[in-house]
């Protein structure tokens, strides 16, 4: 999993049937320097903290939006996270490998210990 900020969304009309109804977000992961710029554990718009790495497209069923800080899971864990949105008994066969698993309220850092 990683911590990142939602910076946008992606949509498409041509996709596998299993992907119909999935909301896709663009998330920018935080690197160590970004977190160091944050102060007091505040998230969601902390001044000066601009995430850097490549953007990740991830499925979302927690209704996260641009500016939100989120935790994103990869791989099988992402499909498990999305499986609650599927009909009962259906296996998590959604064609995704990244999903928002939590919308972050609070981050507490022990930066001085690094």
């Amino acid at each position: 999993m990683f911590l990142g900020r939602v910076v946008g969304s992606v949509w498409s009309t041509v996709k596998w049937p299993e992907a119909v109804g999935l909301k896709l977000l663009l998330v920018r992961p935080y690197c160590l320097a970004d977190l160091g710029a944050k102060t007091g554990g505040a998230t969601g718009g902390a001044a000066g903290a601009q995430p850097t790495d490549d953007l990740v497209v991830c499925a979302d069923r927690l209704d996260a939006g641009p500016g939100d800080d989120v935790v994103v899971a990869f791989g099988h864990a992402a499909r498990v996270a999305m499986s609650g949105a599927l009909p009962a008994g259906q296996k998590p066969n959604v064609p995704i490998d990244a999903a928002v698993v939590a919308v972050v309220d609070r981050v507490e850092l022990d930066g001085e210990k690094l």
Binding site: M1, F2, C31, L32, A102, D105, L109, G111, L114
Partner: protein, 90 residues
């Protein structure tokens, strides 16, 4: 697996059901010289690691095995977990 240092903790009341009751920690990766690489991952912590502690993080099915030994653990929502608290490295 990855070697790193716990640099903090993350909370989110809005989360998917599979994360109920899980403690999420921020782990900064270290390279072979022990210097931070800049990469930060979020891992599930069941070992009650505290800030500043050196840990190893397992990914994928290895991470699920930390929470519950397999093979019937594919229902778990876990792609990264603190696997060990590191006491020393050479």
């Amino acid at each position: 697996m990855m070697r790193g240092t716990i640099i903090g903790q993350v909370w989110g009341a809005r989360h998917v059901a599979g994360l109920d009751g899980r403690k999420l920690v921020l782990v900064a990766a270290r390279d072979d010289a022990g210097a931070p690489t800049g990469r930060v991952v979020v891992a599930i912590d069941t070992l009650d690691a505290s800030g500043g502690e050196d840990v190893t993080v397992a990914f994928g099915s290895g991470a699920r095995n930390v929470l519950r030994a397999g093979p019937d653990n594919r229902d778990l929502l876990c792609d990264a977990a603190v696997a060990a608290l590191v006491e020393g490295a050479e």
